[in-house]
Assembly symmetry: C2
Homo-oligomer: 143 residues x 2
């Protein structure tokens, strides 16, 4: 009871069992500047753990648990279907993907910010969207 405040001080969302592997996965996601694959998260977490070996299946279970709690969102790169995870920070980001070098460039703003998407989809209530642009980045652009 008296530890209630202490628990909140941890900075971790409540209502989850905070094992060391979960803490590490969470830390990895917080430091990430881009969505990551499960395998990337797995390697980065093991690096944080220094010597501790993790089971990949545990990473998948942790990510599934985080997703269920609304902590993490799971998406796929549209181009190739790669599944990636990122911390749910409230905003959403779209990417432009270079067809040559496969680099991803985050768009500063969502092109739909001021567009009503639901106009044409009669009967359908739009709650979200995903967008990916394709083309060539300035390094790969053919001249």
């Amino acid at each position: 009871m008296k530890d209630m405040e202490k628990k909140e001080e941890t900075g971790y969302p409540q209502g989850i069992k905070w094992t060391k592997q979960r803490k590490n996965v969470y830390a990895v996601l917080q430091e990430a500047t881009e969505p990551l694959t499960a395998v990337q998260i797995y390697h980065l977490s093991e690096k944080l753990a220094e010597g501790g070996e993790y089971a990949l299946s545990t990473i998948y279970r942790i990510l599934a648990a985080f997703e269920e709690k609304g902590l993490v969102s799971k998406t796929t790169w549209m181009g190739d279907g790669t599944v990636v995870y990122e911390l749910n920070r409230g905003e959403h980001t779209h990417y432009a993907v270079c067809l040559e070098c496969h680099k991803r460039i985050a768009l500063q703003s969502c092109p739909f910010a001021h567009i009503h998407l639901d106009r044409e989809t009669d009967g359908f209530t739009v709650t979200g969207h995903k967008l990916e642009l394709y083309g060539y980045c300035k390094d790969c652009r053919k001249e």
Copy 2:
């Protein structure tokens, strides 16, 4: 030489070896009203073949070949990463996906038809895009 015209009469794009399995895959794709998975194409082609058994690996190889020739485009449903194939008909279609029943509703038009997407992505030349809307269809909408 004298068969040149006959070959063109087949209606098949030239420059590819037209085996019976390729003809069937092509026919399946032409009849399709939606992008299909490799396994769906596999079953539908076998149905067309009436008794002839196909190797699934052949279907994958045919689809890869068609894609390389620019005949087919391979994409993924963004939501779940399912890989699907469709004939390259020049136009592109976006879908609204119901989060409840997973039905896909094709949008009649592309919201970007008259929007310049490249404005904000300085240095990046946009050549294409993918969009998926999420929400609830009229049957599943919560009231």
